[in-house]
């Protein structure tokens, strides 16, 4: 587990993508064994700017464009990692996991265990998630639950530039495979406007954000809103407007799903009694169920009311009114909060 080494904040602001790239570049400078591979990561700089500028500094040998054959190159990452290198492999969209999941979940995630710890796989699988820009059913998913359900991979989802940098440092230095999911809407890409939230003061020096520590992004006493990724900002928006109704919401950003910081959630629920779990992934058999169940199982008495806000169990539709209907927004969160505190 990476140590928490967060320094004082400095005023410099970065987009989330710049913060990620800064961490990757630093790790590449410090360690020859770190390299990046993926589709369009070199000259293009990553479709969502996740590798922007790396080619110029590190060249095509360490920032490798690879054929559109995810099983081969994700698996090559596994092989290189087992040989002791530290590959950062980009899967362009998490939605594409279906063409290479065996390498991800049966090899990358299990080899450490299946070898009884004789080998390990220090690899970062970085991938874009999220909808809200009308890219339809095959390019808009978060799939948080799909990845978190299968054992052997750590899983991180930053919501701010500051967390993104610290989590990336921690991911590259981690000796285990880490799935690093960045939400497209948070990257600060020119053509995909981001909420203001994620652009944050980011310290210049390297630091790590430890895995398994949720972050209370807003303290409150009436209701606990648990979420991650883009929806941290949706929840903060909802919390801001709930103030007018006299409701003081606590917003917890899980930051890592594996390991999961159930403790911080539980403590908050013990304080507020009310729980709303918000997720951009499909509702059933996923993140919201897990969070609710973990609280119910640990301290049922602490729980006075609970609601889940998530994508209903439908593929993500294309047209704006349809996508808006199914993606949870701040209003949905407000409504759920009002239901639980009523």
């Amino acid at each position: 587990m990476a140590e928490a080494t967060e320094p004082e904040q400095t005023p410099r602001e970065l987009t989330m993508s710049r913060a990620m790239v800064e961490a990757i570049a630093t790790e590449m400078r410090d360690d020859e064994e770190v390299f990046v591979m993926g589709e369009d990561v070199a000259d293009y700089g990553g479709i969502f700017d996740s590798t922007e500028g790396l080619l110029e500094e590190f060249g095509h040998d360490r920032v490798m464009d690879v054929p559109i054959s995810e099983t081969s190159f994700v698996g090559a990452g596994v092989g290189a990692a087992q040989a002791g290198m530290r590959p950062i492999v980009e899967l362009m969209f998490a939605d594409f996991f279906g063409v290479c999941m065996d390498q991800i979940y049966n090899q990358m995630a299990k080899n450490t265990y299946m070898s009884g710890g004789a080998v390990n796989v220090p690899m970062v699988l970085m991938t874009a998630v999220g909808g809200g820009y009308n890219d339809a059913a095959q390019h808009s998913q978060t799939l948080y639950g799909t990845f978190a359900h299968l054992p052997g991979m750590k899983m991180v989802v930053p919501s701010t530039a500051r967390d993104a940098k610290g989590l990336m440092h921690a991911a590259v230095r981690d000796d285990d495979p880490v799935v690093y999911m960045f939400h497209k809407r948070l990257m600060g890409i020119g053509w995909m406007p981001a909420p203001d939230g994620p652009k944050r003061a980011v310290p210049e020096e390297p630091y790590t954000v430890p895995f398994g520590e949720a972050d209370v992004k807003r303290e409150g006493s009436d209701v606990t809103v648990v979420t991650l990724g883009l929806h941290v900002h949706r929840a903060l928006d909802a919390a801001a407007s709930l103030v007018d109704d006299g409701i003081d919401a606590e917003v917890i950003d899980l930051r890592t799903l594996v390991p999961l910081d159930a403790e911080t959630v539980l403590e908050s629920v013990r304080k507020t009694g009310h729980l709303v779990v918000v997720d951009e992934d499909y509702r059933s058999f996923g993140v919201t169920g897990e969070i609710v169940a973990s609280v119910a199982e640990s301290d049922l008495d602490a729980l006075e009311a609970v609601e889940r806000v998530a994508l209903p169990d439908v593929p993500i539709p294309y047209a704006r009114p349809l996508e808006d209907e199914v993606l949870p927004d701040a209003d949905d969160i407000e409504a759920a909060v009002e239901t639980v505190v009523e």
């Binding site: 589709e39 369009d40 070199a42 000259d43 293009y44 479709i47 464009d65 690879v66 054929p67 559109i68 054959s69 099983t71 081969s72 939605d95 594409f96 279906g98 063409v99 809200g132 820009y133 009308n134 890219d135 339809a136 059913a137 095959q138 390019h139 020119g190 053509w191 995909m192 406007p193 509702r283 059933s284 889940r308 806000v309 998530a310 994508l311 209903p312 169990d313 439908v314 593929p315 539709p317 294309y318 047209a319 704006r320 009114p321 349809l322 996508e323 808006d324 209907e325 199914v326 949870p328 949905d332 759920a336």
Partner: protein, 341 residues
């Protein structure tokens, strides 16, 4: 060699497709002024246009009937047009309207027109296996239908394509794989991702005929496809065709193409298949007037489709909950799982 009616049909589809893409580009970009925001405007999301790919579409589809199946990838419009997909409803789909082929649920990468057995998928090479399945159905039912699977040269490396070659080959299924080689997979040039410049050679490892059409010419494609489709229809199994095409626009709208050499972009007009096809028409004795008429028909058809599409109502938000299953809601729990709206 296509006879002159066929030439006219192919040309008509080419100019329809070209005008269509140019107009969609306009509509798309117009909606994203003053600042490009992918989710703004009448056509949101990614948009992959196929200007410069037309010969691959028309040369093959000229040999197909409605009963034949075509699967296309993320860049599907020209193929859809050549296959005879309902242009109005397709356009409405791209504009996210209720009258769209999918009622606005699919968008431009997920066009389905069962009347002409056309479907597409946005995942690289994943249209290949369903095409093999359609051919399997034709084989089992003893019809003479064939299936054509389109893919980009960037998909030549993908497992789903390679596996499909073998499955089609070992069962002698009536499938034609058509690779549109536009030299680029987004920003990656072909030589960076494979050592084999001629993609049709992928067929070699599977005992399948492979043929490359080296210039972006509908007649040459027509002739190669005549052999391949004929072979399939006669029950003699699958083939692979690679066609050299040219991507006249960015990979998707908004792609600044910084990775692409200027000379290559400059060359595009010289390589444009449309004027070259016009020359061919003239050589066949088709008059300039007739060519002009074909162009106008194409333009009108496109304008009409776009106009019609834009007049259609948007889908009601609640429709988002339908169509997960044929018989949605899916059971007693459907209300429970119906989410947060």
């Amino acid at each position: 060699m296509p006879h002159s009616t066929e030439l006219e049909e192919m040309y008509g589809d080419m100019v329809t497709a070209r005008h269509y893409e140019e107009r969609l580009q306009e509509e798309y970009l117009e909606g994203k002024q003053p600042k490009f925001d992918i989710s703004a405007g009448p056509i949101p999301g990614e948009l992959h246009l196929a200007a410069g790919h037309e010969p691959a579409a028309v040369g093959v589809c000229q040999h197909l009937d409605d009963d034949d199946t075509v699967t296309a990838p993320h860049r599907p419009h020209h193929v859809a047009i050549a296959k005879g997909v309902d242009l109005k409803r397709m356009t409405a789909e791209i504009f996210g309207r209720e009258a769209g082929l999918s009622g606005g649920k699919g968008g431009h990468m997920h066009l389905f027109d069962p009347d002409v057995n056309f479907a597409c998928s946005g995942i690289i090479a994943e249209g290949c296996p369903p095409a093999v399945g359609a051919a399997m159905a034709a084989d089992k039912r003893n019809t003479d239908a064939v299936a054509v699977s389109y893919l980009g040269e960037g998909a030549l490396e993908q497992g789903g394509f390679l596996e499909s070659l073998n499955l089609a080959s070992v069962r002698d299924l009536p499938v034609v794989f058509v690779v549109e080689d536009n030299d680029w997979a987004i920003s990656m040039p072909k030589e960076r991702v494979t050592d084999v410049a001629d993609g049709s050679r992928r067929a070699d490892g599977f005992d399948m005929p492979g043929e490359r059409v080296d210039h972006n010419d509908p007649v040459a494609v027509y002739e190669a496809a005549e052999r391949a489709v004929g072979r399939a229809r006669a029950g003699n199994g699958p083939s692979l065709i690679e066609v050299q095409v040219h991507r006249r626009m960015g990979h998707f709208m908004g792609d600044a193409q910084g990775y692409r050499p200027d000379e290559e972009i400059e060359r595009l007009d010289r390589l444009d298949p449309i004027p070259r096809t016009e020359e061919r028409l003239r050589a066949e004795g088709i008059t300039d007037d007739r060519i002009e008429t074909l162009r106008e028909l194409a333009t009108d058809r496109v304008e009409e489709a776009i106009e019609w599409a834009k007049e259609q109502p948007k889908p009601a938000p609640g429709a988002a909950h339908d169509d997960v299953f044929v018989d949605s809601p899916a059971g007693p729990a459907a209300a429970e799982t119906g989410g947060d709206d």
